[in-house]
C-alpha cells in the first residue's frame, strides 16, 4: 500500500460516517447549543413544485418544530414559473427570489448563484444545502450532514453520499458515484488531486459548510460549483477539512445522456479554470465555451451548439455589502 492509499484509507476511517451514527436529534441540538452555533437550511429551486412541499414539511416539522436543530429554512428560487414558491411559503419556509438578493450584482441563472446569494441572505453559522428534487426526503438529509460540524471543530465541509444497496451478494461493491463522477470527475481527481478520490460522490448536491469556509470560496454559478469547492478547500486546508456521510438512498429524477453531457462540459470548464487559478497548470488557452453535440434525423445529421460559459462569483467576504451585514 503506497503512502497515498494509506492517507485515503485513514481518512475514510475517520471522516466517513453513516447517518445512523447521529440518530439522536436531541443530542445534536444539545451539541449545537453547547457550541453556540446557528444552522440555516438553503433549498435552491427552479420549478420544483412536485417535491418542495414535502421537503419543507419534513424539515420544518422534524428539525424546527419538534427539535430546534434548524434556525431557518430558506428557499432561494431562480424564477420558477410553477407553484414552487407558493407551496414552500404555505408550509412555512422563507422564500426569496435569487434576483432580489444583492440586486446590484445582477442575476445569473444557475444553482451556484442561489447558493452564493444564500451566504449573504441567511443567518446561520452553518449552512446546509439540500436539492429540491429528492423524492424520499427525510430529516436525516440535514441532521446527518450537520452532525460532523457540530461534533468536530476541524471539519469544515460535509458532503452526502448515497446508494448503499439493500442487499449485496458479495463483500465488495463499487463506491456508487453517478455517471459523471465515475467517467469524468474521478479520473480528473485521480490525475490532479488523488486524495479527493476519497469523496464517494463529489457532485452530490447536499452538503453542510461552516460560514467562514463558504464566504471564502469562489462560486461558479453552474454545474461546476461542487467541484470548484472541493478543489479550492482541499488546496487551502487539505483532506481533513472534509467529512462525508452515507445517507443510504436518494430517489430523484434521472437525467438524459444529453443533459449529462452538458453537465460534464460545465464541470470540465470549472476544473480547468481552478487548475489555472490555483497555479497547477500554466495559463490555459482561451475557450469559446461552445458545447457541440450532434443529433440525427433520418439520414440528416446536424450539430447542436450551446454556449456554456461557467461564470464565477467571487468569495462572498470580498463584497462590502456582506462585510456590513455579517461583519
Amino acid at each position: 500500500m503506497d503512502a497515498m492509499e494509506q492517507r485515503i484509507e485513514k481518512w475514510l476511517g475517520t471522516n466517513t460516517y453513516h447517518h445512523s451514527e447521529f440518530w439522536s436529534i436531541r443530542e445534536l441540538v444539545r451539541a449545537k447549543e453547547k457550541a453556540g452555533l446557528t444552522v440555516s437550511l438553503c433549498i435552491p429551486t427552479l420549478n420544483e413544485e412536485k417535491t418542495i412541499g414535502k421537503e419543507v414539511i419534513m424539515f420544518k416539522s422534524e428539525l424546527m418544530d419538534r427539535y430546534p436543530l434548524l434556525d431557518e429554512i430558506a428557499v432561494i428560487d431562480s424564477g420558477s414559473t410553477d407553484n414552487t414558491l407558493a407551496i414552500a411559503e404555505a408550509f412555512g419556509a422563507d422564500t426569496y427570489l435569487s434576483s432580489g438578493i444583492l440586486p446590484s450584482y445582477g442575476f445569473r441563472p444557475g444553482k451556484g448563484e442561489n447558493l452564493w446569494k444564500a451566504i449573504y441572505q441567511l443567518k446561520g453559522d452553518i449552512i446546509c444545502y439540500v436539492d429540491a428534487d429528492i423524492k424520499n426526503i427525510h430529516s436525516k438529509f440535514v441532521s446527518g450532514l450537520v452532525a460532523p460540524l457540530l461534533y468536530r471543530e476541524k471539519v469544515q465541509y460535509v458532503k452526502a453520499f448515497y446508494d448503499r444497496p439493500l442487499a449485496l451478494s458479495g463483500g465488495v461493491r463499487p463506491s456508487g458515484g453517478g455517471r459523471v463522477t465515475e467517467i469524468l470527475v474521478r479520473p480528473l481527481f485521480s490525475l490532479f488531486f488523488p486524495e479527493l478520490t476519497a469523496m464517494m460522490q463529489p457532485l452530490s448536491g447536499e452538503y453542510a459548510v461552516r460560514r467562514e469556509t463558504l464566504e471564502s470560496l469562489h462560486f461558479p454559478i453552474g454545474y461546476g460549483v461542487e467541484t470548484s469547492h472541493l478543489i479550492d478547500l482541499y488546496q487551502k486546508s487539505g483532506l481533513d477539512a472534509f467529512a462525508q456521510v452515507d445517507l443510504d438512498r436518494r430517489v430523484h429524477r434521472n437525467q438524459t445522456t444529453i443533459d449529462l453531457g452538458k453537465m460534464s462540459f460545465g464541470i470540465l470548464q470549472t476544473f480547468l479554470n481552478r487548475l489555472e487559478h490555483n497555479g497547477i497548470v500554466p495559463e490555459m488557452p482561451e475557450f469559446d465555451g461552445i458545447f457541440r453535440q450532434l443529433q440525427a434525423e433520418g439520414k440528416r445529421y446536424e450539430t447542436l451548439n450551446r454556449t456554456m460559459v461557467e461564470e464565477e462569483r467571487p468569495p462572498m467576504k470580498t463584497l462590502p455589502e456582506y462585510q456590513e451585514k455579517h461583519g
Binding site: 412541499g53 414535502k54 414539511i57 418544530d65 407551496i87 404555505a90
Partner: protein, 390 residues
C-alpha cells in the same frame, strides 16, 4: 351528564383547540408523509408499527409493545389512572409493497397511495401525544394508543379482535380514527358477510363458451346472479362487488377466477338470508357437466351494532362538529368500530380530512380543514375523559 356536556364542549374551548392546532399542523403533516411512504399491506405491517413504536418512545409513552397479532400499543398515563380511553387506527393499507408509495404535496393537498386510508389516521395516532402536550391537555384517564393490524379483506379485523380478547384493561370508551372524510360520524356497524366465489375450470367441457372465455363464462353468470339479488330483495340489504378477477392476458381463456363480494345490512337475519341465496346460486352454477368447480367461501363477518343516536358520546361528537361548522355525516361502519361495539364499548369512528379517490393511486386529502378534524378528535377525547361515556 348534561352539565358535563356543557362543561366539556364549550364553544370557546373547541375553537381554541382548533386555533392552537393550526399552528402545529406541520407536526401532523410530516407524520402523514412518513406513514404514507412506509408500505404496510395487510399482514405485513411491521415497518409501520415500528414507526409508531419509535414515535411513542420519543413521546415518552409507557407500556409500548407489539402484541402477538402485530398490533402496536402504548399508554399515556392519566392523572387518575382508574379509567382507560382508547384511540385506535388501523395501520394496514390495501396496497402491496411493490407499489410506489411516494407522497406528493401541493398547496392545499397531499396525494399518494393510502394517504387517507389510513396513513392520516396513523399519523394522528403518532402525533396525538405531542398535540396534547402542546395544547397543555392532561387527561385524567389513561390514554391507550393502538395501531391495529389485519383490518382489510381476509384480515377480518384480526388485530382489533385480538386486542379486545386479550387486554386486561377495561376500556371505558374508544375512538377509531380514519383519514377521511371529515364529518364522518359512525356510531353503528352494519351486519356483513364478506366472501369469495371461486371458479376453477377442470377441463373436459364441450361448452364453446369455455373454449373461448374460460371461467369468465361462469363468472359472468355468478355476477349476474349477485346483482339480481340487489334488484329483487329488500333495499335494506345489498351486495357490493369489489373484485372480478381472472387474469390471463389477451388470448388465453383463464382457468381460474374469483368474485369478491360483501353482503351488508343493518339486520343480521337479512345478511344470513342473502348468504343462503348466494350458496344456492353457487350450487346451481356447479353443474358437473360444465367441467367447472364453483365454490363460495365466507371469509369475514360482522354483527350489527349501534351505540344509538341519543348516546351522550354521539351527541357530543355532533355538537363538536356543529361548533366547528362541519356537517355531520352519520354512516354505519364495518371496520374496527364493529368489534368495539360488539364488545360493548362506547365507541365512535371519526374522519380527519376531506379527501377523494380512496383506494386509487391518486388518493388525496385536503389540508385546509385538517385542524377541524384534529380539534374534533381532541375535543371529543376531552369529553370522554370527563366521563361522557359512562
Amino acid at each position: 351528564m348534561e352539565g358535563k356536556e356543557v362543561q366539556c364542549l364549550q364553544r370557546e374551548a373547541v375553537l381554541s383547540n382548533r386555533e392552537s392546532l393550526r399552528a402545529i399542523r406541520e407536526l401532523l403533516l410530516a407524520n402523514v408523509v412518513m406513514a404514507a411512504e412506509i408500505p404496510a399491506p395487510t399482514g405485513s405491517e411491521g415497518l409501520l408499527t415500528r414507526f409508531l413504536s419509535d414515535r411513542f418512545t420519543e413521546a415518552g409513552l409507557t407500556d409500548i409493545a407489539n402484541d402477538q397479532a402485530g398490533n402496536i400499543a402504548a399508554v399515556l398515563p392519566g392523572q387518575d389512572r382508574s379509567r382507560n380511553l382508547l384511540v385506535a387506527a388501523h395501520v394496514d393499507k390495501v396496497w402491496p409493497d411493490s407499489e410506489d408509495h411516494t407522497v406528493s404535496v401541493g398547496v392545499g393537498s397531499m396525494r399518494g397511495r393510502g394517504i387517507a386510508d389510513n396513513s392520516l389516521g396513523v399519523a394522528v395516532l403518532a402525533t396525538l401525544p405531542l398535540i396534547l402536550e402542546r395544547l397543555s391537555i392532561a387527561l385524567d384517564a389513561n390514554l391507550i394508543l393502538l395501531g391495529t393490524t389485519r383490518s382489510f379483506g381476509r384480515g377480518d379485523l384480526a388485530g382489533m379482535r385480538f386486542f379486545l380478547e386479550n387486554t386486561d384493561q377495561k376500556i371505558d370508551g374508544a375512538l377509531c380514527v380514519e383519514g377521511m372524510n371529515l364529518g364522518r360520524l359512525s356510531f353503528s356497524s352494519l351486519g356483513m358477510a364478506r366472501g369469495e366465489i371461486v371458479v376453477e375450470l377442470k377441463g373436459g367441457s364441450e361448452d364453446p363458451d369455455f373454449a373461448n372465455a374460460g371461467v369468465i363464462a361462469v363468472l359472468q353468470k355468478a355476477l349476474a346472479g349477485l346483482l339480481e339479488f340487489n334488484r329483487a330483495h329488500h333495499p335494506e340489504v345489498k351486495i357490493l362487488i369489489g373484485t372480478v378477477d381472472s387474469v390471463s392476458g389477451y388470448n388465453v381463456p383463464p382457468l381460474l377466477g374469483k368474485i369478491c363480494f360483501e353482503i351488508r345490512s343493518r339486520e343480521a337475519e337479512r345478511v344470513a338470508e342473502v348468504e343462503r341465496l348466494v350458496h344456492a346460486l353457487v350450487e346451481r352454477l356447479q353443474a358437473p357437466s360444465d367441467g367447472a368447480a364453483v365454490a363460495v367461501e365466507i371469509i369475514a363477518r360482522r354483527v350489527p351494532g349501534d351505540l344509538g343516536e341519543g348516546h351522550p358520546l354521539v351527541k357530543a361528537a355532533r355538537k363538536t362538529l356543529e361548533i366547528l361548522e362541519v356537517e355531520a355525516r352519520p354512516e354505519p361502519s364495518i371496520s374496527e368500530l364493529a368489534a368495539l361495539l360488539e364488545a360493548g364499548i362506547p365507541s365512535l369512528t371519526l374522519g380527519v380530512a376531506k379527501g377523494e379517490g380512496r383506494h386509487s393511486p391518486r388518493e388525496t386529502i385536503q389540508l385546509d380543514q385538517m385542524q377541524d378534524g384534529l380539534a374534533q378528535i381532541v375535543s371529543v377525547l376531552q369529553f370522554m375523559d370527563s366521563g361522557g361515556c359512562d
